[in-house]
């Protein structure tokens, strides 16, 4: 693995906390992700991994703590006198357009064709001309292997195809960061591979990615780091070999054992 550029982290979380009613979703999360890093987040249900991911693009608003993208705080604005206030919508929207998000349920827009799904945000948010947006869309569809589906409607595609379109849609905004919330969890097993190949290609091309996933095989091969979260905190953080082969904490050991009992093929483990 090559040495990644580490001058200024791309994404930083400082003591991010979030409660939903009485439940503590995030209990003080600290994280630093460098440019070009591929970080996979694993953990049991309810550990807060999705919530953490969603605070990065402010879909969830933390109760306290700071999220910083490329040196700029997200969601808040720090005034002259140091006073903290909510960020203006315009700025938040702009920041969000620099991050791409891929959802477990794909969330393609069903009333628009595949092509329109990819071009619409380019036209509206980035003010790119329709012709240029289409060019970008064609290129990306080729990249994810769906050139023949430009005029199809989302409900005519398989789950794996929809997710690849969703990835293309996010990439069309030329993001500096990709956030993926369990991108393959809703897919039938035979469709998972196609999506993972696309993610693999992105990783090899140097995209900074934070992926919440259950696919430990993928994480073992392509992640620079794996985060293990449990009950709202990052419990372990390190390279795949270290985390998966020599888990330090009992919780991670237990988690891996549970997955092992379910007979998953994790290279390097079991």
């Amino acid at each position: 693995m090559s040495i990644k550029d580490n001058i200024q982290p791309l994404v930083e979380l400082f003591d991010v906390r979030k409660c939903f009613g009485q439940t503590v979703a995030l209990g003080g999360v600290n994280l630093s992700v460098a440019r070009g890093e591929v970080v996979c987040v694993i953990g049991p249900s309810g550990c807060g991994k999705s919530t953490m991911l969603r605070t990065i693009n402010w879909l969830e608003v933390p109760d306290s703590g700071k999220v910083v993208l490329d040196g700029q705080p997200i969601g808040i604005r720090i005034g002259q006198n140091g006073k903290v206030s909510p960020q203006a919508s315009k700025d938040l929207n702009k920041t969000r357009s620099r991050m791409g998000m891929v959802f477990q349920q794909f969330n393609l827009w069903p009333h628009l064709s595949v092509l329109d799904n990819i071009t619409r945000a380019q036209e509206i948010v980035l003010r790119i001309r329709k012709e240029d947006a289409k060019e970008i869309a064609y290129r990306l569809l080729k990249q994810v292997g769906l050139s023949d589906k430009t005029d199809a409607l989302p409900d005519q595609l398989s789950g794996g195809q929809q997710q690849r379109v969703a990835i293309a849609r996010a990439l069309a905004m030329d993001p500096i960061l990709m956030l993926m919330d369990e991108p393959t969890s809703a897919l039938d097993p035979e469709l998972v591979g196609d999506v993972l190949s696309v993610l693999q290609q992105l990783a090899e091309d140097g995209m900074t990615m934070i992926i919440v996933t259950h696919e430990l095989g993928f994480a073992a091969k392509f992640a620079d780091r794996i985060l293990f979260m449990d009950r709202g905190l990052i419990v372990e953080d390190g390279p795949p070999q270290q985390l998966l082969q020599n888990p330090e904490t009992d919780r991670l050991k237990f988690f891996l054992k549970q997955l092992g009992d379910m007979n998953l093929n994790i290279p390097g483990v079991m």
Partner: protein, 225 residues
Amino acid sequence: MDLDFQIILDWWPLILNGFKLTLVIVVGAILLGIPLGGLLAFGRQSRFKIISISATAFIELFRNTPFMIQVFLLFYVLPFYGIRIPANIVGIIGLALFGSVYYAEIIRAGIDAIPRGQLESARSIGMSHWQSMTNIVLPQTMRIILPPIGNQTLSLVKESSILSTITVQELTMSALIVQGQTFRPFEIFIVITLLYWGLNELIATGLRIYERRLERRSLSDPASA
């Protein structure tokens, strides 16, 4: 008992005009009422207390009072403030106001039916709330609220008969005129009844066809889980 349907033929032009006016009024009420309903729906959700309370008050006032008194009040209130408009227009406005509160609920339900993920994916890609609503959420809403809107239209057709009480010469009024002129209530009311019933069945059938088409489309959706 002797029946004389000749009078129907004699008075047919009047009956037809009444029928046409009923259609015009209902269409006008829909065109006015749906945007108004949209405003009410969004008004109710407004962050500004004064807007949300006004919207809720408006809705409660119009839901808990008979349509007849709404139009009577409207009919007499407008000249009270010096506004003189023809009864037909008052009728359209009254029917639109009446319908708007039901449209508001339909629109609200339609928007809520759109999965949150749709809005989230639009916001996370950088669209503003307004852009997300107009490009992503509302187009989907329009498609699914058509059946309930259609049902509400049927309701408006029936309520429109009440406009005869404020001198609007729609279908019910024509029946009353013919009865007054011919002293033969039976024939005319049977015909008017059939006209209303026929119109109702026409619209209802159209709705059923549309709903069936909608169902067929979503059944072909492999990813709908």
